[in-house]
């Protein structure tokens, strides 16, 4: 087996004096879809922000392609190929759709490549092409989620971190978004780290999964196993 692409080694993350993560260990291999599920306030978003350098862990290590990035500034982490589609999408409301996509490529200098990638995003999400001159803030929730994913793709990520992409969306749109996520993983080989409350869907598209409770990883297994697990069924699948 090759060494993992991204590894969290026993990280502890704090907000001021409040500890949010306790010794979190997560391994992400190249090409995988990793799923992290957990209840509200479990620490899922904090885990992603710890990887991205927005809330660096106080203890433990984040290792990407063999390099310790625990204290690396956020912009350097993006440049290395870790991109996040954050919870709530965080579209730049006053920028147009194409300007939002352009911001995703903020650290890139290859103008032609950026233009090509923008076309690819428009092919992936044709609705965005129609709305390219419209302000991001005027899009519907589903369109904003597509824009947020497209914006992250503009950085040509090696790992795409997705924080609750299904939040607040109609089932049909959720299905559509999850299909695209699968497609990005299959066709472009992009590694996916998916955080979800919609455990059923997430465990169905993921390869391996983690369960988080109160800042602690309580379970880690292949997704089919987690789907079949009684305690997971009871707590997260409502069965």
């Amino acid at each position: 087996m090759t060494s993992p692409l991204l590894e969290l080694r026993s990280i502890d993350t704090y907000y001021g004096n409040i500890q949010a993560l306790y010794g979190v260990d997560i391994t992400v291999n190249e090409g995988e879809i990793i799923t992290l599920i957990g209840a509200n306030g479990a620490g899922k978003s904090t885990t992603l922000m710890s990887i991205c350098g927005v809330t660096p862990p106080r203890r433990g290590q984040v290792v990407f392609q063999g390099t310790d990035i625990t204290r690396t500034p956020a912009e350097t982490i993006v440049a290395m190929g870790i991109c996040q589609v954050p919870e709530g999408r965080l579209i730049f409301p006053g920028l147009t759709v194409s300007e939002n996509l352009d911001m995703g490529a903020f650290l890139r200098n290859d103008k032609d490549g950026v233009r090509q990638d923008m076309e690819r995003v428009y092919q992936l999400f044709p609705i965005l092409a129609e709305r390219r001159r419209q302000a991001g803030g005027t899009l519907s929730g589903g369109e904003q989620q597509m824009l947020a994913i497209g914006r992250a793709l503009m950085a040509r990520p090696k790992v795409l971190l997705l924080d609750e992409p299904s939040m607040g969306l109609a089932p049909l749109v959720v299905r559509q978004i999850f299909d695209i996520i699968k497609q990005i993983n299959k066709e472009q080989g992009t590694t996916i780290f998916l955080v979800e409350q919609n455990a059923n869907l997430a465990l169905k598209i993921g390869h391996r999964g983690y369960v988080m409770e109160n800042g602690v990883i309580t379970m880690a297994d292949r997704c089919e196993k987690l789907l079949a697990d009684d305690s997971v069924k009871k707590a997260y699948l409502g069965l």
Partner: protein, 325 residues
């Protein structure tokens, strides 16, 4: 009946020259129009600094008026030295402007680093208090380093011969101020729209966390915002000082308050709003003092502010708080 000088704080304004024209004539109207435009230009130049900083870090930078004052003092010192060396007038103007811009920008940068950056995650009141402290500190520092008296400021704009027919209602220095402001506003708008740093500033203003997540160095963007805002204020400070002919340490205070009013009027956080707010405030003051009474000048400005806050608290071009620059 003499008019109080703008720089003394209580009002008056950049209206040198002839005041006692026949009310109701076209000349009188045009004089008020250009006087208001001049004053509005200066308000706009200062208001841009308030609005950009507020747009990015939601802080009212109370020390901004002092940065403008320091710009004028820098211009005064440079103009004094170059004047004794016998430089031509326009040369002095450009060197004085350049030095003022650099020096004020350095002050703006430093103020942010020492007074605001350490408080970035503190409760919102803390940086506000720090800003007021900075304002008082800078005023007193200039008071001690210079003097409390008004210092004469040399006229740095030559009177062009072709201006002769217009002299009855607009002066060369007014045209200089209006022209420079127009130039600066166009340049700033293009800068924000098309440059990398400009885009980073817009993104940071709209969502700082997301800006970080796409790779914007947010600290650098914040510093750049202070530098640009301070530079614009310095341009305004030198031009208006040359226009009215005298400055003192208190010169930035009322101008700062008025410019802040202009920023709120236009919609704090909005760049075009600051420009528009400055012009509206300048014209309101000019026409109200010209046609109604010059005794209540500040009353007009603040009455306008109160009306706006009651009927359109987000300002003329302001949007809700999620949508700023």
């Amino acid at each position: 009946m003499g008019r109080p000088d703008w720089s003394q704080g209580a009002g008056g304004g950049p209206f040198p020259g002839i005041y006692f024209k026949r009310v109701g004539t076209m000349d009188y109207f045009l004089e008020l129009f250009f006087g208001g435009l001049t004053r509005g230009s200066i308000y706009a130049l200062i208001a841009l600094g308030y609005t950009m900083v507020y747009g990015i870090i939601e802080l009212i930078n109370f020390a901004h008026g002092e940065i403008y004052m320091i710009g004028a003092f820098t211009g005064l010192i440079v103009a004094g030295v170059l004047g004794t060396l016998g430089f031509p007038m326009l040369g002095i103007l450009f060197v004085a402007l350049a030095c003022a811009v650099i020096w004020s920008a350095a002050y703006g940068y430093t103020v942010e680093k020492i007074a605001y950056k350490p408080l970035r995650n503190a409760p919102r009141l803390s940086p506000l208090i720090s800003a007021i402290g900075m304002s008082i500190f800078l005023q007193n520092y200039v008071l001690l380093a210079q003097t409390s008296d008004f210092l004469p400021f040399p006229k740095l704009t030559p009177d062009f011969a072709f201006m002769e027919p217009l002299r009855s209602f607009v002066s060369t220095s007014e045209l200089f101020i209006i022209g420079s402001t127009l130039l600066v506003c166009v340049a700033l708008t293009l800068f924000i729209k098309y440059t990398r740093l400009g885009k980073a500033m817009r993104a940071t203003a709209q969502n700082r966390k997301m800006a970080m997540l796409v790779g914007v160095k947010v600290d650098k963007v914040i510093s750049a915002t202070f530098v640009i805002g301070s530079a614009l204020a310095a341009v305004g400070g030198v031009l208006i000082a040359s226009h009215i002919g005298q400055i003192n340490f208190y010169f930035g205070f009322i101008a700062g308050v008025k410019a802040f009013t202009a920023a709120v009027l236009g919609g704090i956080g909005s760049v075009p709003g600051a420009m528009l707010g400055g012009l509206i405030l300048g014209w309101t003051e000019a026409f109200a003092t010209g046609y109604v009474s010059s005794d209540y000048e500040d009353v007009f400005a603040f009455a306008l502010l109160v009306l706006i806050l009651i009927f359109r608290p987000e300002g003329i071009l302001g949007k809700d708080s999620t949508q700023k620059v």
